[in-house]
Point group: C2
Chain length 472, copies 2
């Protein structure tokens, strides 16, 4: 241990290594779901060269590596396990914005940059970096890329994968792959960056990236609508797509319970909601025209939807403050939910067309086994991604057993409907069993072939995404 | 040979195998650049099961496989070499459209579907499948995916990679990977489909795909502008992006010579061009509003660009017929070019910001060695992709040597400017040397690791993308 400290201090300097348990505490634990473990050291390299040196040294010492960003994930991908030969490699000291090219509409950054800071830097030169979600103020772009983060603008701009043009990666053998190209078209061989995007640090450590920037929207409109049922939300989504096409940036679906408890949590009374209804939709458009153009078009869309009975009621945010109140409500749902007690959380995706039937089927199947279960569903309907987080009375029951049974019911139905058990959060440690169950056979074999090809020593975040085999 | 025929006839039926040299002729040759070779048989499986059976049989017989689509490529990726143990596996009989889901905005298709037919089927239900380029009437979607095809709408909709949600692939071991998921978000493990997109058939045979559909635009506008120099085109691109954002679907740059010879070839006199100028731009917008809205906005944009001197002159297509004439001109450039004699063609990409300086530098460097060289440049400026195809007097010279020298000058400069030697055409056989030269070391090692992991027997399109090593 002292030897280890001496070793890495020499490589990284005093600032580059933490071994004090109190100092390491935030690095070895998670903000949600109590993922935690132990490591002998947290390493904090300040350059790509230092990351590469760390990887080579770890291989020599027989240590595995947990690459770590802003620790805002919810799957345990960035947390250590207990009593393993692992160290954390935090990218937090590599937080430079290296270049902004306003003609190429790209930004070259280090992996440890906070997402919110990148968005601000882009806005300062009149550009948008579209990735956005609750953790924007603390998540790091390296982690966003490693988990192929989703969020609230995927409908228009795609997942993180779609926003990355180039990468620099330190490989398991300690070599550096320089794929930092700012190109929109590049078919000169396999598109290697795709391997590392969404690989949760199991194939290498992302150290730098070239990101796409978009023109910054000049105007937009936001509406909050009351709905009878999810099938109506689908009709409204169709209408919004046909009307706005790419200017439609967000289409969220919220169950009444989510809105009720969040308004209560925020002590907001009726807040910005358009009356009491079983479901709500949140529709946002943005583009290069003035607010008034989008406001008028949204107004017409809502009137037509009211006439046909697709929606029960609607509020069009008339000011930035009203829009903020609606977003605050939306973003506070997970926090309000966490205070309600035991729930089983799912981050699932389905073909958009299958969501209404799935929500019915899943509720029926769950109620048959858990009569007192309470549905709590919200998410990104436009992307086919819902956070399906039912609350269950767990007193006297075995929490792990309940979670296992609920997961099986929900995920079996998701797979039967052509869906995925992880839409945007990734696998980490929490979905290892599901990967083995639902993607067994050819798909898991392919993933293992890729892992073995890129990390034959199994030192890059082992036991994440793919379960470790008995013999290592 | 007779044994081979008997073998595969039993697997695929009489329709499933060609061995007659005349019948095989179109399959073993190319429409451009004379890629050709010999094979003992062309196999034409009619189902995924038959493709899998073919792969297993080929492995048993020690035969390699060249997966083949519509043969519209220009790199020799789909053509056989001479006197190798290879067969062609054509997907042309697998041309079904299996499902169109208008709520999920997806289409599930077999690999042998002609791109134009898919676009029509999408249009019939009010949707757009955005991929589009000259070969639309004969290229197949499996080939489009395998080459990550680009084309004229990449600026708005991305490359083919961005339009694929799911794949079914027959692997080198004859197993079928079913990744036919129609999901916009799926982070349950590695995104395996990314491996096969753009791999030119070297990692497996794509048999089916789930494709993204978009709302069909209702209106648009097209303008043809006269420009002094590429730097002005960049200024106009900026203006168009800021004005239209995602509604900007095309931004092409054409050198005067391209327009001159194509109008001559088409016997069109002055055609639709806005006067004689050193460069031209082609700007198209499309979206959910009426033609008149986009026409007015384009008119204002052109007026402002004229005032500031960014453009010399402009024509706004006032009718569908005028737009067709402009597109006909654009699409006929390669054909007109091919009739001019010897040229050295490059499909290069660069950061958009670097293109004007690159065009100057490349011309200067080439002229120093080839005083009579004539520039012939056109392409997709908005994507940073130009077809840089200078004409050279090759009489008395060694054509291969000239090509090698021109390639080295152009590609060295491309790489020095952070670009790629293949933007949208791929590697095939034509860019093998460039891959070894410019992506040597870590990048080629990574590609080889992926190839070995997925095709350890090297039976999937060997000698394409990556040069075969001496020992096999």
């Amino acid at each position: 241990m002292a030897a280890l400290e001496a070793h890495f201090s020499q490589l990284l300097g005093r600032q580059g290594i933490l071994t004090d348990p109190t100092a390491m505490e935030p690095y070895v634990s998670s903000w949600r779901d109590n993922w935690r473990g132990r490591v002998p050291a947290v390493l904090r390299p300040a350059s790509t060269g230092e990351v590469a040196a760390v990887v080579r040294e770890c291989r020599n010492l027989g240590l595995s590596i947990i690459p770590q960003g802003g620790r805002t994930g919810v799957t345990g991908a960035a947390q250590p396990r207990m009593d393993r030969d692992e160290v954390i490699v935090s990218l937090e000291r590599m937080d430079g914005i290296l270049e902004i090219d306003t003609d190429n509409d790209t930004m070259t950054v280090e992996a440890g940059c906070i997402l919110g800071r990148l968005r601000e830097a882009a806005a300062e030169v009149g550009r948008l970096f579209p990735l956005n979600f609750g953790a924007v103020g603390s998540c790091q772009i390296g982690g966003n890329i490693s988990t192929n983060a989703g969020g609230i603008n995927v409908l228009r701009y795609g997942n993180t994968r779609n926003l990355v043009l180039g990468l620099e990666v330190v490989l398991a053998d300690g070599r550096v792959w320089n794929g930092l190209r700012g190109l929109r078209k590049d078919n000169a061989g396999y598109d290697l960056k795709q391997l590392f995007i969404g690989a949760e640090g199991t194939l290498g450590i992302i150290t730098k990236a070239v990101l796409r920037l978009e023109p910054h929207p000049r105007g937009g409109a936001l509406s909050f609508v009351a709905l009878r049922e999810p099938a109506d939300a689908l009709r409204l989504l169709r209408r919004a797509k046909d009307t706005f096409a790419d200017n439609l940036v967000t289409f969220e679906l919220l169950q009444q319970r989510c809105v009720d408890v969040t308004l209560e949590h925020l002590r907001e009374g009726e807040g910005p909601r358009p009356g009491v209804a079983p479901w709500y939709g949140l529709v946002e458009v943005a583009g290069q025209e003035d607010d008034s153009l989008y406001g008028d078009a949204m107004q017409r869309l809502l009137e037509n939807a009211l006439e046909t009975g697709e929606i029960l009621d609607a509020r069009l945010a008339a000011s930035g403050r009203q829009a903020q109140a609606i977003w605050r409500l939306r973003e506070s749902i997970p926090e309000a939910h966490n205070r309600l007690g035991f729930s089983v959380k799912h981050d699932i995706s389905l073909p958009v067309s299958k969501i209404p039937a799935f929500l019915d089927e899943a509720e029926t199947a769950l109620r048959a086994e858990f009569p007192a279960i309470e549905m709590f569903t919200f998410g990104h309907l436009g992307d086919g991604n819902v956070h399906f987080n039912p609350l269950i009375e767990a007193r006297g029951g075995d929490v792990l057993d309940i979670r296992r049974r609920v997961n099986a019911i929900v995920h079996d139905l998701v797979i039967a409907n052509g869906g995925s058990v992880s839409a945007e959060h990734g696998v980490g440690q929490v979905r290892l069993a599901e990967i083995e169950r639902y993607r067994a056979g050819v798909e898991v074999d392919l993933m293992r072939a890729v892992k073995s090809a890129l990390d034959p020593w199994n030192i890059m975040n082992p036991g994440k995404v793919l379960r470790e085999r008995a013999a290592r």
